[in-house]
Subunit: 260 residues, 2 copies
């Protein structure tokens, strides 16, 4: 279904193992981004040969069509955080409407894949890369909407369960970037170890070296109240989210081993 | 101890919260990189306004001084994986000895910090950014040494507990990059929530909104043998590493809450 995919361009076409592991559909890409607690955001720094990279938080969304289903429609990526205004200006393309060209990477590690020889060892992972143009969100309604979206993407219903709306000072001191995606791709490695054919015939080797997958996921531990906390019990929306996230992470990691 | 730090340059000096959260010392930076199972590697693509970003694995090391203590001496970063040879050439600086300018990011998420208002919410994290010049390792001895180092950095003693040395085909098909670090920095956020002064005086708000930290770490699950595995019990070096990694991740996440 070509219409539910990001276009393939020179930037996003996956070259290594592209046939087996790449996908371009909205659902896969948006899900990887929205379940990844840290995004790595990269952009050129004109004063420097090295790209800048910042760990940031964010999620997909579309303010002009807020009920758009991210499984079937393209999205923007909203990012919480600060990119120097100098870069926002100098990095802008000649058409200054377009904004700063940035690359957003989201990676989930699902397992360590152990083969008979280190050269066949691998990782199970799901990663997404999105290329797009970032602009600062200045409209207050869009900014508040994006803050709510990013907060609740991290911890569902936290926004309405805390002190809102933001004060004017908070609005001014918080930056939100809207990234218009021009292309994006996902890459997924799943399954067990692949082996060298000669190694598989070596029975002594196979009796000596353990092969398989060690699954891995993000584990959220018991919430620790801060010194100012006055709520005795950890609320259900926090515990529910934590249990669900741990369970889903675990299930994904084990499921990856079985699928190919 | 200035001699045990990477130099501060325009590229690596941390601007946001630089005084509280930044450090430049070898030990902090190398530890974050070597305990991070996925590194995000970024470099300019001359055909494209967007930097390329690849998730890769790697660790620090110094082949010319293999016993160099990473806590007190600078290191290279060795990365396992493939960067198009076109880029390795076109990206090289005029002095072609220097190699491709790349940025390596390593991020550990330690917790979700929940304040009374979403605008004071934050994350506990440890991140390192290294800037350097990447060249392809062509010397066979250095390449094998780096493969061993990267394998054992991920899972200690896995190298010697599997089929080695690599075959000639494996040597040819595996690429290792050596990144000479020109500057690097680390940024660490720890502690509990910071609050707005007005919110702290609002007792009704404090009775309604739970505040504190939800710690998080990478959890390695039970190893799942592959279809070709003939070793009945999971070896001790795998289980020992797994238990240690889970314990250390958990301890780091809880320790971060207590420190400021």
């Amino acid at each position: 279904m070509a219409s539910q995919e990001y276009p393939k361009t020179a930037a996003n076409t996956v070259k290594r193992y592209g046939n087996d592991r790449a996908s371009y559909d909205y659902k896969t890409i948006h899900t990887i981004i929205n379940t990844c607690p840290v995004l790595h955001v990269s952009f050129a720094d004109p004063t420097n040969p090295f790209p800048a990279v910042l760990p940031m938080i964010g999620c997909t969304g579309d303010f002009t069509n807020p009920s758009a289903d991210p499984n079937t429609l393209p999205q923007n990526i909203y990012i919480h955080g600060y990119v120097s205004s100098r870069l926002m200006k100098t990095g802008s393309s000649p058409d200054s409407e377009e904004g700063l060209p940035i690359t957003i990477a989201a990676t989930h590690l699902d397992g360590l894949v152990l083969a008979l020889t280190p050269n066949h060892c691998s990782c199970n992972f799901r990663s997404a890369i999105a290329f797009g143009y970032a602009t600062l969100v200045t409209d207050e309604a869009e900014k508040t909407w994006a803050m709510e979206k990013i907060t609740n993407n991290m911890l569902p219903t936290r926004w309405e369960n805390s002190r809102i709306p933001p004060t004017q000072t908070e609005m001014t001191s918080t930056s939100i970037l809207r990234v218009k995606i021009s292309s994006a791709s996902a890459k997924v490695r799943a399954g067990g170890p692949g082996e060298d054919r000669a190694d598989l015939k070596d029975e002594a080797l196979k009796k000596r070296v353990w092969t398989g997958v060690v699954p891995v996921w993000m584990q959220w531990g018991e919430p620790m109240p801060g010194p100012e906390n006055k709520v005795d019990e950890v609320p259900g929306y926090i515990e529910g989210w934590r249990m669900r996230a741990n369970q889903e992470g675990r299930v994904e990691a084990f499921k990856a081993i079985e699928s190919e």
